[in-house]
Amino acid sequence: MTNSKPLVQRRQVLTLARHEVGRSLFSRRSLAVYLLVGMPLALMLLRALFMPGSMRADATHATTEFAEVFHFFLLRFVVFFANAMIFVRLFRGEILEKSLHYTLLAPLSRTVLVIGKYLGGVVSASLILVLTTTLTYILVFLPHGAAGVQLLLSGSGIANLASYLLIVVLACFAYGALFMLAGLFFKNPMVPAILFLGWETLTPFLPAFLKVLSFVHYLVSFAPVPVSLGAFALLARPVSWWIALLALFTTSALLVFVASRVARHLEVTYSAD
């Protein structure tokens, strides 16, 4: 084997990412994630089944309805917890399965290990959540018949969907980095995850200088349809798309960097975990 170091590292990253995609999509533990992402689909199916005839005829509300479902349920609950489940398991799952040592016994730097696992997580979470969001979006419009389909396939319908999908993918990068780090730090990372969810939920009611410390603040800046956050929400100047992108990617990169530093000191003491 006479390959250059960057080439070998690239292969290692791809191998790890592929392995993580397989684990995240097809293992028995993925069932919890599929149940979670099945919730908005089930809700939209029920809505379609029991929608009164008068509402069916009017497709104009569908765009706003999806915006509300996306803000309050998909992004703040489904996307958040699906990322938590997928990324926390990248390291913590292997520690619990007592199989992490096989990866640690490979000739790869801990930075390569963290990047490979992270990318695998991002691909898996994005695949699952992009599909969920798209199906939910379609299910919101379909019950309205031809008018709904026309709205869905119109320029704004497709553009809105693309914006929502961008938010979902960016959320996978940002929440993913955070939850991977949490999986390295905490024995039960779901506790800090729930605390962080609390913080993200409170964001609309926080002053502007605290809003910048949440991911959702930047993510919603890409939302194509504004939603009302209630009477008590404190309004802040919207973030421009490039600042939001920069903030999300910089924070994600920083969290991945910290995770790689933590991983350098990772020890195999399964009995203590």
Binding site: F26, E97, H101, L104, L105, P107, V112, R264, V268
Partner: protein
């Protein structure tokens, strides 16, 4: 840092308040080295430290001049078969090795070739496409061995590698270790079963309560234990005659005829004993079948040094 030895310099490892190993100084050369100690003595901790799965609380470890802090270099040269009996969910023997080799950076064709070669070496070719979860204990042990040596490492660290193997499997694996050591590799094998280590090792490291109590070739180690007389078993046609002559020597502590075995002699001066014994044989015309050390075994030495058995017996 020695480029061809494994070095421990004043290494200690604590798990919180609990001591793992304490002030270990070691230098391991190539060949087959046995790491011996009862359960909980610190064998696995020592092996984990060697391979970077644990970091020393104090001191320094170097493997062929490489610090375990650099896994990207270390694991090109080291393979480790741990005691953990868990595997990635859903893996087959073949996919498990293919993944490991892909992580080494091998292209698929070469990874496949090496994976099949490693499976053949441990006798698992037929079970290659079966899930590891359905393997017997012995097969799981073999696949771990295949994982440890599939990338052709210079150092093999094997933690209790014979656990769970049947006698035939043990014999095959012992042959494999010997073969690998003869190829000039470092093969470090831990065991709490002393006669196993006796059979396979060139040298031995004895650990107890987290401290190294002896290291080196077993004969050398035995020679340094002056508190216990050296025992020699003589098989000859007239043991009583030899015994009576031996009692004339000052350093003879005991000479006892053991039925069906021979004359068991305990002496505090082995070199002088062998000199004088030759004289006795010539003078008396006794026909000697064998003269062999009776306590130059790991078991005896361990007993002398630690003063207790290992508990594991001789399975």
């Amino acid at each position: 840092m020695s480029p061809d030895h494994i070095l421990f310099r004043n290494v200690s490892k604590f798990y919180g308040e609990v001591l793992g190993v304490n002030k270990v100084n070691l230098e391991v050369a190539s060949g087959l080295t046995g790491l011996v100690g009862p359960n909980g003595s610190g064998k696995s901790t020592l092996m984990h430290l060697m391979t970077g799965l644990l970091r020393p609380s104090r001191g320094e470890v170097s493997v062929l001049g490489i610090s375990p802090d650099h896994p990207e270099e270390l694991f090109r040269k080291v393979g480790y078969c741990t005691q953990y009996d868990n595997f990635p969910n859903g893996s087959t023997g073949l996919s498990f090795l293919q993944f490991a080799l892909a992580l080494h950076g091998y292209q698929k064709s070469e990874a496949d070739e090496r994976a099949w070669a490693a499976l053949a070496r441990v006798g698992l070719t037929d079970a290659a496409n079966r899930r590891i979860a359905g393997y017997s204990k012995g097969m799981r042990q073999r696949i771990k061995l295949a994982h440890a040596h599939c990338h052709d490492p210079q150092i093999l660290v094997l933690d209790e590698p014979l656990n769970g193997l049947d006698p035939m499997g043990r014999a095959e694996m012992i042959d494999l270790f010997t073969e690998l050591a003869k190829e000039g590799r470092h093969v470090i094998v831990s065991s709490h079963i002393l006669h196993e280590v006796d059979v396979i090792s060139d040298g031995v490291i004895m650990i107890h309560g987290g401290a190294i109590v002896a290291e080196g070739e077993i004969r050398e180690v035995r020679g340094e234990i002056t508190s216990h007389p050296i025992q020699v078993l003589i098989r000859c046609d007239r043991p009583h005659t030899v015994a009576s002559r031996l009692f004339e020597l000052e350093h003879i502590v005991e000479a006892r005829v053991v039925e069906d075995e021979g004359l068991l002699v305990s002496t505090r001066d082995a070199p002088d004993f062998f000199n004088k014994f030759n004289r006795i044989v010539i003078d008396t015309g006794v026909v000697v079948e064998t003269v062999a050390p009776a306590d130059e075994s790991v078991h005896a030495v361990y007993d002398y040094l630690i003063g207790e058995g290992l508990g594991g017996g001789s399975a």
